[in-house]
C-alpha cells in the first residue's frame, strides 16, 4: 500500500451542503418562524445563548433553526456571529441583587426573606409524555385578572438567603478590598493558574452537559472535590444592563437580560478551614438553565477549595467549552488516510519482523503522552 496524492471531493461537499439546505428549508412542513422558536423552544434558545456567550433571543433562534435543533452547532453559529461584531461597551458592574425574579426557590430554608416562588416549572409534578391530538384550544382565561396579590419590592427582588447566613455570622468571610480587573476569556485564553473571574467566565459559557458531567464526576467519581451538596438559593429573573452615557458620564440602562443564578452551600471541614462556618459557591449563566447554574455554583466552591491541589482548575478552564470539545470531535470525521496508512504499515512491519524471528524493536518511552492532535 503506497502513498499517492489525491484531490477531489468538492462536488460531493457542495452536493451534501445543498442536500442539507433543501431538506431543511423546504421540508414538507410549516416553516418555523423566529418568534415560534423563541416561544416554543425557549430552553434550547437559552442554552444556545449561554454556550455561545451572546445574549439575543432572535439571533439564537435563527441559529437553532439553521442547525436543525443541534444546540452545539447553533452555539457554534452564534459564537461565530459574535466574533464579527464590535464591542460597543463593557457594562457597569451588574449587581445580581437587583434581579426581578421570575422564579426563586430556597431549598435550604423554609421561610427566607421573600417568597418561595415556584414560577414556571414542572419540577414538582410527574413527567408524563403528552401526545396532543392537534393544537390545544386557545386560552380563553384572563390570567392578568386572576390574582389580587400585592406586588412588592420584597416579592420581586427578595433579599438573598446568603445575607441571612452572613447576618447569623455563619459565612466564612472571603471578601477583600482589592478589586482586580476581570479576565476576558474571549480575548485571552485562560490557562492555570487563573483568576477566579476566568473560571467563572469559562463556566458561564461552558457546554451544559459537560459542566453537569464534571460536577457529577466530582461527587461520585474519583476526584471527590464536591462534598456536601446543599443548594442555598436558585433564581431565574431579569437584570438591567447599564453602560456609561457618553455625554453625561452617568450610568444608563439600555435594557434587561435574563439569567439563572445559583448559590451552593459548602460545609467547611478542612484542617485549615473555619469549621464553624459555611462557604458559598456561585453560579450565573444567561437565560433559564438551572442545571448549568447549580453545577457551576458547586464547582466554583470546589475549585476555590481544591482547584490548585488537583486537576479541577485545569478541567474547568480547558475541557468544558462545547466548541472546543465539539470541534475536536468533529475533526475526526475529516480524512485521516495518511495517518492511518502509516499505522497499518507499522503493524505489518512488526508482524513481518515477528515472523522472521526478529525481536520486536524496543519501545520508546512517551513521557509527554501520545500526541493525538
Amino acid at each position: 500500500m503506497g502513498y499517492s496524492g489525491a484531490r477531489g471531493g468538492l462536488e460531493a461537499i457542495l452536493a451534501a451542503e445543498d442536500l442539507v439546505r433543501r431538506k431543511r428549508d423546504h421540508a414538507p412542513a410549516p416553516w418555523s418562524s423566529t418568534e415560534q422558536i423563541t416561544a416554543r423552544f425557549r430552553l434550547a434558545v437559552d442554552r444556545v445563548m449561554g454556550e455561545a456567550g451572546l445574549y439575543d433571543e432572535p439571533t439564537a433562534a435563527d441559529a437553532f433553526r439553521q442547525a436543525e435543533g443541534d444546540t452545539l452547532e447553533a452555539s457554534h453559529l452564534l459564537r461565530a456571529q459574535r466574533s464579527t461584531l464590535p464591542r460597543l461597551a463593557v457594562s457597569e458592574p451588574v449587581d445580581p441583587g437587583e434581579m426581578t425574579v421570575i422564579r426563586r426557590i430556597v431549598p435550604a430554608f423554609r421561610e427566607p426573606d421573600g417568597p418561595q416562588l415556584l414560577g414556571r416549572t414542572s419540577d414538582y409534578t410527574g413527567r408524563l409524555l403528552e401526545r396532543p391530538d392537534g393544537r390545544p384550544e386557545p386560552d380563553q382565561e384572563d390570567h392578568a385578572g386572576t390574582s389580587s396579590a400585592e406586588r412588592t419590592e420584597e416579592q420581586r427582588s427578595p433579599r438573598r438567603f446568603m445575607d441571612l447566613l452572613r447576618k447569623m455570622e455563619l459565612l466564612a468571610e472571603g471578601r477583600t478590598t482589592d478589586d482586580p480587573e476581570p479576565h476576558d476569556i474571549t480575548r485571552k485564553p485562560a490557562r492555570p493558574p487563573a483568576d477566579r473571574s476566568a473560571v467563572l467566565a469559562a463556566m458561564a459559557r461552558a457546554e451544559s452537559g459537560a459542566l453537569v458531567a464534571l460536577w457529577y464526576r466530582s461527587i461520585l467519581g474519583p476526584d471527590g472535590d464536591v462534598h456536601e451538596i446543599t443548594l442555598g438559593e436558585l433564581r431565574h429573573g431579569r437584570l438591567p444592563l447599564r453602560v456609561r452615557h457618553p455625554h453625561t458620564g452617568n450610568p444608563v440602562a439600555v435594557g434587561e437580560f435574563r439569567v439563572t443564578e445559583a448559590e451552593a452551600i459548602e460545609d467547611l471541614d478542612g484542617a485549615d478551614e473555619d469549621r464553624t462556618r459555611f462557604d458559598i459557591g456561585y453560579g450565573l449563566c444567561f437565560g433559564h438553565n438551572e442545571r448549568k447554574a447549580i453545577a457551576m455554583a458547586n464547582l466554583d466552591i470546589a475549585n476555590r477549595r481544591f482547584g490548585r491541589s488537583g486537576p479541577l482548575e485545569q478541567l474547568l478552564l480547558l475541557t468544558i467549552d462545547g466548541l472546543d470539545s465539539g470541534g475536536f470531535l468533529e475533526h475526526l470525521k475529516l480524512p485521516h488516510y495518511v495517518t492511518f496508512r502509516s499505522m497499518v504499515e507499522r503493524k505489518q512491519a512488526m508482524r513481518a519482523a515477528a515472523e522472521a524471528g526478529e525481536d520486536p524493536p524496543a519501545r520508546a518511552a512517551e513521557p509527554a503522552g501520545k500526541d493525538c492532535r
Binding site: 457597569e92 458592574p93 445580581p96 426581578t100 385578572g145 396579590a149 440602562a253 437580560f257
Partner: protein
C-alpha cells in the same frame, strides 16, 4: 426627567413609535448629522458576584447604538438587539429633547407611555406568578 431615564425609556420603546416621532422631529427641516451611524455590536455584561464581590465577564449582549447632531445638539441612543432604524430614531429623539425643540413634550409623553406599559407588564406578570408562591401549612 433626567437624560439617563429618558434614554432608558427610549431604549424600551417600540420601533414604530420611535420612527414615527423621529420623522416628525425632522419634518421641519432641522439639520441632522449622523455622527455615529447605527452600529450593531456587543455590550459585555460585567457582573459583580455577591459571594466574594469579585467581578467577572458573564458574556456579551447584542446591542445597537447611534449618535446624531440635531440643530446643533448631540443625541445618543443604545438599545438591545440589532434594530438600526430604532436606535437612530431614539438618538434623534434624545437630541430633540436635549435642545428643547418643539416635539419635546411628545417625547415626554412617549416616555410616560413606555413607563406605564412596563408597569402594566410587571403587574400582569406578577398576577401570573403570585399563585405559584408556596404557602406552607403547619402540621401539628
Amino acid at each position: 426627567m433626567s437624560r439617563e431615564h429618558r434614554c432608558a425609556l427610549l431604549a424600551e420603546a417600540e420601533r414604530a413609535e420611535l420612527i414615527e416621532l423621529a420623522d416628525a422631529c425632522i419634518a421641519d427641516g432641522a439639520q441632522v448629522r449622523v455622527l455615529v451611524g447605527p452600529e450593531v455590536g456587543c455590550v459585555t455584561a460585567q457582573v459583580r458576584e455577591p459571594v466574594l464581590e469579585q467581578r467577572f465577564l458573564l458574556g456579551d449582549v447584542l446591542a445597537c447604538r447611534a449618535e446624531v447632531e440635531l440643530a446643533g445638539h448631540r443625541g445618543w441612543a443604545m438599545r438591545l438587539g440589532d434594530d438600526r432604524a430604532a436606535a437612530l430614531a431614539a438618538a434623534v429623539l434624545d437630541a430633540e429633547a436635549q435642545c428643547g425643540r418643539p416635539r419635546t413634550a411628545e417625547i415626554d409623553l412617549l416616555c410616560e407611555r413606555v413607563a406605564e406599559r412596563r408597569e402594566r407588564r410587571e403587574s400582569q406578570e406578577w398576577a401570573e406568578l403570585a399563585p405559584t408562591v408556596v404557602a406552607f401549612e403547619e402540621l401539628t
